[in-house]
């Protein structure tokens, strides 16, 4: 445990996520040092040698801010999140997985059993001749071994604990991370429950020229070289920008790639995927049912596309079975 100083105390934790959010902190480059000036990091499994029991030994509110990235998929993650909640004054859901479930949340299209069957038997790259499956506990001579329980579904962080602030992005861009940290340091945080990003959409930050949109055919990124100045939706690319919260500076768009929606919806929208689907569907330039169907066929995996980052946060989130039966 570092010695107690006047500095802030931060904790960072990595739940069900890819680790990109951890790297995002490093993306702040030399400004990371300013961060270190500002705060002591009391817990950060990937970088700091503090263990769970150290956190357990802390008092309530000893940690000023806990940044938790990743969704919650198993019992260990849930326990750690609850523990950090108990010890922290403020909890920030860091990144799209913590905010909305993120990419791991797409697993909610499948049941736990289907996932385990695939990973431990069916997938082409699996060699498991003995059909070994992970068990939550196993008795050996030395005692009982346990594994965290693999939950039936993926949860976003605020399904498990109360979250004070949301910092979306896959991963959150360095400027937003620094703004958030500065706001914390200066005590200038907005009311709890806020998202630490603008409440407009990516279109606001996108420089491309936007005209009225009429789409005759949808195009995937490998199928065209888009005009760098024109709205990608008008070119038939599925861009989630109009439905997605701003704050990223339209980074994907400036790299000539459509927005994938990692910032989630604005505060005014309940279901991100439904919004995108609704908006995209209205662009189809046809009155003929057959033709409309053909044009929409040009979007492979629509549910995965529109709910790429937000399935657990969607209205469909809790009803994955029903949803899947309805879709397939």
């Amino acid at each position: 445990m570092p010695e107690r100083t006047g500095k802030l105390k931060f904790a960072l934790y990595w739940a069900a996520g890819c680790g990109g959010c951890e790297v995002a902190l490093l993306d702040t480059d030399e400004r990371l040092l300013e961060l270190a000036e500002l705060a002591d990091i009391v817990f950060w499994p990937i970088a700091v040698d503090a263990k769970r029991e150290h956190v357990e030994a802390m008092g309530e509110g000893d940690i000023d801010v806990a940044f938790i990235n990743g969704a919650v998929r198993n019992s260990e993650q849930e326990e750690m999140c609850r523990l950090l909640r108990e010890k922290s004054g403020t909890v920030v859901a860091f990144g799209s997985c913590a905010c909305f479930g993120g990419i791991p949340g797409l697993a909610n299209f499948f049941s736990r059993r289907e996932i385990l069957d695939w990973v431990y038997s069916a997938s082409p790259s699996t060699a498991n001749p003995d059909g070994i499956r992970p068990l939550p506990q196993h008795q050996v001579r030395e005692g009982r071994l346990t594994l965290p329980e693999f939950y039936r579904q993926v949860y976003k962080l605020n399904d498990i604990i109360q979250v004070d602030y949301y910092l979306p992005g896959c991963p959150p861009p360095p400027n937003l991370v620094l703004e958030a940290v500065t706001a914390i340091a200066e005590g200038k945080l907005p009311p709890p429950g806020s998202t630490l990003a603008p409440d407009t959409t990516v279109c606001e930050e996108c420089e491309r020229v936007k005209e009225e949109k009429r789409v005759r055919a949808f195009k995937r990124p490998h199928e065209i070289v888009p005009d760098p100045d024109r709205c990608l939706l008008e070119l038939g690319m599925v861009c989630c920008g109009p439905a997605t919260r701003a704050g990223c500076g339209a980074r994907c768009l400036s790299a000539n790639m459509p927005c994938r929606g990692c910032f989630g919806p604005t505060s005014r929208v309940l279901d991100h995927g439904a919004r995108i689907a609704g908006a995209i569907a209205t662009l189809v330039d046809s009155q003929d049912e057959e033709e409309i169907r053909d044009i929409l066929e040009g979007i492979p995996d629509p549910s995965g596309t529109f709910y790429r980052f937000g399935l657990p946060a969607s209205l469909l989130g809790g009803n994955r079975r029903k949803l899947r039966e309805g879709v397939s």
Partner: protein, 653 residues
């Protein structure tokens, strides 16, 4: 928000609801819902004593939200809103649960009906909590009107409005007003002369000081909203200056170019410069550019040379006018089914197979044969009258291959033609029909009269017309005899279906009118609002809405005038506050909504980088709201909060 105090009223609607729904049970259920202060049931909520219940509860029990569980909001939402207003409560703090059309009328199962009624009431109670007071708005109404289409319905409408002292523009696409009626000979069932009753009206329309007739003109676009439309009209170049022409007719006598006459159904010729028929109004010729030798080759110019008034002007160009009007009547009429699409009836192949409209010209004294029914040979009329004529009903109508609907006027028109042919030629006339539809004043009597005249009625649709050795044969299954028949005749008359006018789609688009499955314009309520459309201030009259005979078209024309006059006379018009609104701060200007708005109410504002809704144009349909990806758009009175509350509750029971 001050404390929500909800009153719930469950209506019996006589036995309409109470027979199926346990109204007392629903009332008791409602009484226990959160926020509910009063719950009552009553025989007829819409009647005076029912309304009084609302008023006294609002005044005496501090009620500030009202739910009435009764019929469809289309029926009585406005009624109850007014009751709230009269008791000093904003009319939008009200919600209706439709437990009649949605419950009692749609099931035999009392228990299910009651269960659903409970769910709808619970949803309404939950929703009404989130209602906000909304203010009605008013706009001034421009005192001028536009009538589009100069057939009998449009003329009638224009005259009625003008006689009330209001300025009217009457826009007609063709060179003359008069419409289809001008081409008819006699009218059923009275057999009075069509032209004799129509032409005085045409002349009055042209001369009325309050009517400006814009013939040979078309509406190109409409902007604005009820009470304040801006209409762009294209005045097509006639190549004859209307103000100089006296209608002497020298030009078309001198014109060397003959063209088949549209007015006579191709049975006679007109010239390249022409008036469509002798009684045309205005009596000013027009040059048909595509057939004019001067326009096609640069030579000729006979009309110009001989015109005593120098009224011919080959340099004339289309002109555009912008009219400011408060209301519009659309009376763009109909067309008839083109039988060349159906060769089985022989039209276009056999020259003595005519459409009913062509025959109207033959029996007409001003027609190509001077009113004689004559056979044709090698493209010319002979002196020979037919000895037998078949009149085929329902050509294209009541036919799944063409138009499934009944064209309504052709039974009577066919009877009339059968009578006229019989009268003029003494021929044996066969009428091939499916059913005779003679519903109308004096219609059945006319049918009986024609039967007595010796017309042969064969109940069976004329399936095919063939010619063998110069003899026409009509093939049909006589469903009364149960026999297949082949009837030799000299002439066949096809009573073709009434179809939407060419260009109806464009007219619908310009005026924001919806069209039904059959392509005719759609009224906003089939029974109670037959003349209104989805766009306020735009009315439809006559056959553009569906097949009609002359009396119905005239009645509709007058009805349309009444609609316009009540709007104009009121001077101002209420616009619903239930409209979409855009949070400009939240709008990113993605423009997804702009082309979706059926009323063109959304415009993008370059300066603000955001879209804006014109509240006067918006109808609150919600299309844009559903499409708005950022959630910047919302619809008053249909907010997410209100709708989710309703859904949540209705699905939780």
């Amino acid at each position: 928000m001050s404390e929500v105090r909800i009153a719930v009223y469950v209506c019996h609607c006589g036995t309409n609801i109470a027979d199926k729904v346990d109204v007392a049970g629903v009332r008791e259920f409602a009484r226990r819902l959160p926020g509910v202060e009063v719950a009552r049931d009553y025989q007829y909520m819409c009647a005076d004593p029912g309304q009084e219940l609302l008023r006294s509860d609002i005044r005496e029990r501090g009620i500030n939200r009202v739910v009435v569980a009764s019929c469809s909001p289309r029926m009585h939402e406005a009624t109850f809103r007014q009751v709230l207003e009269s008791a000093g409560l904003n009319g939008y703090l009200f919600e209706m649960a439709n437990i009649r059309e949605h419950c009692s009328w749609v099931t035999e199962e009392s228990e299910l009906a009651t269960h659903k009624a409970r769910a709808l009431v619970a949803a309404a109670v939950k929703r009404v909590r989130f209602h906000a007071p909304l203010e009605e708005r008013y706009v001034e109404v421009n005192q001028k009107a536009l009538v589009v289409g100069g057939g009998i319905a449009g003329i009638e409408a224009a005259l009625k409005i003008a006689r009330a002292g209001k300025k009217v523009w009457l826009v007609e696409r063709g060179p003359s007003i008069g419409g289809k009626m001008a081409g008819l000979d006699k009218t059923f069932p009275t057999l009075d002369c069509s032209a004799c009753i129509l032409t005085p009206k045409m002349v009055e329309a042209a001369q009325h000081p309050k009517i400006t007739l814009l013939s040979y003109s078309e509406v190109e676009g409409v902007d604005g909203y009820v009470g304040n439309f801006q209409v762009t009209v294209r005045r097509k170049a006639r190549y004859v200056r209307e103000e100089d022409c006296t209608g002497c007719g020298t030009c078309y006598q001198k014109c060397p170019k003959k063209v088949p006459s549209e007015f006579d159904g191709g049975l006679s010729h007109r010239k390249a410069i022409y008036v469509p028929f002798p009684q045309a109004v205005p009596n000013v010729p027009v040059i048909d550019r595509s057939n004019c030798i001067r326009f096609q080759t640069g030579r000729c110019g006979a009309c110009e040379k001989f015109c005593p008034r120098d009224a011919v002007d080959f340099e004339q160009e289309d002109e555009f006018l912008t009219l400011e009007v408060g209301a519009v009547i659309v009376a763009t009429g109909y067309e008839t089914f083109q039988p060349q699409e159906a060769p089985q009836w022989g039209w276009g192949r056999y020259e003595n197979v005519l459409t009913a409209r062509q025959l109207e010209r033959l029996v007409n004294a001003s027609g190509p044969t001077g009113g004689k029914v004559l056979l044709r040979r090698d493209g010319e009329f002979t002196d020979e009258v037919p000895k037998s004529v078949a009149v085929l009903h329902c050509i294209g109508s009541r036919d799944e291959n063409y138009y499934p609907y009944c064209s309504r006027l052709c039974c009577m028109a066919s009877l009339k033609l059968a009578h006229l042919i019989r009268e003029k030629t003494g021929a044996q006339v066969y009428s091939f029909y499916i059913d005779i539809r003679s519903a109308g004043k004096g219609y059945e009597e006319f049918y009986t009269r024609v039967q007595a005249e010796g017309i042969q009625f064969i109940r069976g649709k004329g399936a095919e017309v063939l010619e063998r050795d110069g003899q026409l044969y009509v093939h049909a299954e006589d469903t009364l005899l149960g026999a297949y028949r082949e009837v030799p005749v000299d002439m066949v008359v096809l009573s073709t279906a009434v179809t939407p006018a060419p260009g109806a789609e464009r007219v619908a688009q310009i005026f924001g009118i919806q069209r039904g499955q059959d392509g005719f314009f759609l009224e906003s309520h089939p029974k109670l609002e037959p003349l209104k459309t989805a766009t306020e201030g735009i009315y439809i009259v006559g056959c553009c809405q569906g097949p009609k005979d002359i009396p119905d078209s005239v009645a509709q024309g007058a009805g349309g005038a009444a609609e316009v006059l009540s709007l104009l006379t009121a001077g101002r018009v209420q616009i619903s506050p239930v409209v979409a609104e855009i949070d400009a701060e939240a709008c990113s200007g993605c423009k997804v909504c702009v082309p979706l708005c059926p009323y063109s109410a959304i415009k993008y504002d370059e300066e603000r980088g955001a879209c804006g809704v014109n509240e006067a144009l918006c109808k609150g349909c919600g299309t844009c709201v559903a499409s708005c990806p950022s959630g910047a758009l919302s619809c008053r009175h249909f907010t997410d909060e209100q709708i989710y509350a309703q859904i949540e509750e209705v699905s939780s029971l």
